[in-house]
């Protein structure tokens, strides 16, 4: 589904991603871990098409197409969804309105009819239960005045409504209490099919107990320095990142 090769990206002249290789197939869950500032969010944003970042080298293929040539909205319409680490507030625009516009633009892109209003509202009501948010959040302005945890749940709610092919969750777990964490993880798991894939960015093994990854990658200083199965996350939990910082990843073996 997604194949990243030797991806280099920089912002304002500073190189942040220094050669990323990553392959994600449908049906898989990948986790990316790594210390603060290692470039996890940068990778997520570059994949989503944030224009502030300049891709200086490498390529990204997505379902056989060159992803880097697509505009951010076309990437979204092709099924890439980013749950933001810091969800943005949009005053005056209700969640319902945002999702209606989004869903219809995506459907139009695919040559599908607009969704009938009743069907659409039914869809929202069904999906919002998945993240245990009150119906009143449908009418509220997007993320405005939401608590940190509510914002994260709202991202997963949007994910559920838009049902993308590749979901990228950027630290969706941070700021969530343990119950909310279970709710969110449960939501993500329910959306999992053999045709879609998930890329989870996290600092904590905790989340991975609920969203069980097939692969774990460790990002450090803009490069993936180690990949492994879900056990890798447990090891990291035990020994931290010092070993990479000390420049001897061999220790883990």
């Amino acid at each position: 589904m997604l194949e990243v090769k030797n991806l280099h990206a920089s912002i304002e002249g500073n190189e942040i991603l220094k050669g990323i290789d990553l392959k994600i197939n449908s049906g898989e869950v990948h986790a990316i871990m790594g210390p603060n500032g290692s470039g996890k969010s940068t990778l997520a944003q570059v994949l989503a098409g944030r224009e502030e970042y300049e891709v200086t080298d490498g390529e990204v293929m997505y379902n056989g197409n060159n992803l880097l040539e697509l505009s951010p909205e076309d990437r979204a319409r092709e099924g890439i969804f980013l749950a933001f680490q810091y969800p943005i507030e949009i005053p005056g625009v209700s969640n319902t309105n945002l999702l209606k516009t989004a869903l219809n633009e995506i459907r139009k892109y695919k040559g599908e009819e607009e969704l009938d209003t009743f069907d659409f509202l039914a869809l929202l009501k069904e999906k919002i239960k998945l993240v245990d948010l009150d119906q009143s959040f449908l009418k509220r302005s997007v993320n405005e005045g939401f608590s940190g945890g509510e914002k994260k749940r709202n991202e997963i709610f949007q994910l559920a409504v838009l049902s993308p092919k590749l979901a990228i969750l950027d630290e969706t777990d941070s700021g969530l209490d343990i119950d909310a964490l279970k709710v969110v993880a449960n939501g993500v798991n329910k959306l999992k099919t053999k045709d879609n894939a998930t890329l989870v960015v996290t600092h904590y093994q905790r989340l991975l107990n609920y969203i069980v990854p097939d692969f774990v990658h460790v990002l450090h200083d803009g490069k993936i320095v180690k990949s492994g199965g879900k056990e890798l996350a447990l090891e990291l939990e035990d020994i931290g990142y010092d070993w990479i910082k000390n420049g001897s990843p061999e220790v883990v073996k």
């Binding site: 989503a48 098409g49 944030r50 224009e51 502030e52 505009s71 951010p72 909205e73 990437r75 979204a76 319409r77 969804f81 980013l82 933001f84 969800p87 943005i88 949009i90 005053p91 005056g92 625009v93 209700s94 309105n97 945002l98 999702l99 516009t101 989004a102 869903l103 633009e105 995506i106 892109y109 302005s141 949007q158 838009l162």
Partner: protein, 482 residues
């Protein structure tokens, strides 16, 4: 051909005459320049009664003693008033054969606005089919209005057919001495609309200049007068969301509203004059005087405006709250992009007891534009227990534009209750990216954010108008981010 079709075609061929917007003057025009002789000729050509000419001349003589105002926060090269043609008979637009002959840019905009093909033809001067909805609808409307005693006609027509009403109310709200541009208008006004709603009549439909086939020909000095007698109601729509192009650079209109006891007037405008190109060349200067007098007790006047066009807009729809318990409202969205400048706002003058006013102003600035809100709330000594609520918000798109707020308060009665709120916000790139990431393209993303911001004002517009205004806004702001 069926009987009804024949009838419709007949109606249509009689259309121009019926509406009276094409006056019975031979196509000709007067030379450039302004002097008493020109004014006499304008009046004569329009076949006006004596009182009208007198009034024009008084205005002209007064205008000569005035100076052009410099206080608005706008800049423009001096206007040469001797270089303007003050009278030309309504020009027949060249008839085109089909839409293929129309400027494709214009068609694109029509499409975005969702204007029907037939309507597109009418707006761009293509010959239209005989069975054309809004025209036949307009005809039926006219008859219905007549039955109720409502007068809705061109100003020129009113001067001839209803001279007593015109004499009684003309200048009663905006006197010919009022201000530089209103005085000029009083001397040379070309045409406009006249509305009279008799006692206890509720006008059953939105009156709209839209139905006037020759609306584009009312000229650069438009004049409108609306009178609502006791216990009556009227909602009036001015303008059109379709882009309006005009060769006249200066537009100085005057609108006067009079509401008697318990009467209510709702006046909505969508202004979309040509703003000029990206460098600001060729745009319209729109200097308007709009004022309503709540003369009677419990009367109410609401102004709702969506301003997106013109290179320069200078406009302060105001309410004089004279009757006790009268209510004034002002809801405004003013958008400026590229090099546009707008200095707009309102004046609420509280004279009667228990009068109240509401001001909701939403400015949106993009590009290198300048957008100013200027508002006055004045409470006179006698206006006991008057109230005002003002909310003036500015939204900035990009960082080269400016928003300015100039609220003025003159409170002469201690029982007045005045509230003022103001905010400034910015559409951020992270908001746009967030919406892009949900599959929404930038233009629609801005539309969504802007609509959220102006919701309160849009709610005041009649439904259809609101839908068009929404689309219009996103078009006006096209290319303003990134």
């Amino acid at each position: 051909m069926s009987n009804t079709e024949v009838k419709k075609i007949e109606e249509l061929t009689n259309q121009e005459y019926k509406y009276g917007f094409v006056t019975d003057i031979e196509a000709d025009s007067l030379p450039k320049g302004l002097n008493e002789d020109i004014i006499k000729q304008v009046s004569a050509k329009k076949g006006e009664p004596e009182f009208m000419l007198e009034w024009r001349l008084k205005a002209y003589r007064h205008w000569l003693t005035m100076e052009e105002p410099t206080w608005p926060n706008v800049n423009y090269p001096p206007v040469d008033y001797q270089d303007i043609v003050y009278y030309s008979a309504p020009k027949k637009q060249p008839q085109l054969e089909s839409l293929d002959e129309v400027d494709p840019e214009l068609l694109k905009t029509y499409e975005k606005l969702g204007i029907s093909l037939e309507e597109q033809k009418r707006l761009s001067g293509v010959a239209v089919d005989a069975v054309f909805d809004s025209v036949s609808v307009a005809t039926t409307f006219k008859e219905k209005l007549k039955e109720l005693g409502i007068i809705f006609c061109s100003f020129s027509e009113a001067v001839k057919d209803h001279p007593d009403l015109v004499k009684k109310y003309l200048g009663s709200v905006v006197p010919y001495t009022d201000n530089y541009f209103a005085t000029l208008n009083s001397a040379v006004f070309s045409d406009g609309s006249f509305v009279f709603i008799p006692k206890s009549v509720r006008c059953p439909m939105e009156l709209s200049t839209y139905f006037r086939i020759n609306a584009a020909n009312t000229g650069q000095f438009e004049r409108t007068l609306i009178v609502a007698e006791e216990d009556s109601y009227v909602s009036y729509l001015e303008g059109c969301t379709a882009p309006m192009r005009d060769e006249n650079q200066l537009h100085a209109a005057v609108v006067e509203l009079v509401a008697l006891d318990n009467a209510q007037i709702k006046y909505s405008t969508v202004q979309n004059w040509y703003p000029g190109d990206k460098d600001g060349k060729g745009g319209i200067y729109n200097f308007v005087t709009k004022r309503g007098a709540c003369k009677g007790v419990n009367s109410k006047i609401s102004w709702t405006q969506v301003e997106t066009g013109s290179a320069i807009t200078w406009k302060y729809p105001s309410c004089i709250l004279q009757g006790d318990n009268s209510v004034g409202e002002f809801y405004s969205v003013a958008v400026t992009n590229n090099l546009q400048q707008a200095d707009t706002g309102t004046k609420m003058i509280h004279l009667g007891k228990n009068t109240s006013s509401t001001i909701i102003s939403k400015g949106i600035s993009a590009g290198k534009s300048q957008n100013s809100y200027r508002g006055l709330v004045k409470v006179s000594k006698k206006a006991k227990n008057s109230r005002n609520f003002s909310q003036c918000d500015s939204l900035l798109i990009g960082d080269k534009c400016g928003a300015h707020t100039f609220p003025y308060l003159e409170i002469n009665n201690p029982t007045a209750h005045i509230e003022h709120e103001a905010t400034t916000s910015k559409i951020g790139e992270d908001q746009i990216f967030y919406l892009n990431q949900r599959g929404i393209e930038t233009e629609n993303a801005i539309g969504l954010i802007v609509n959220g911001y102006i919701k309160q004002v849009l709610a005041e517009l009649p439904m259809e108008f609101a839908v068009e205004a929404t689309k219009l806004l996103s078009i006006s702001l096209e290319g303003s981010v990134g």
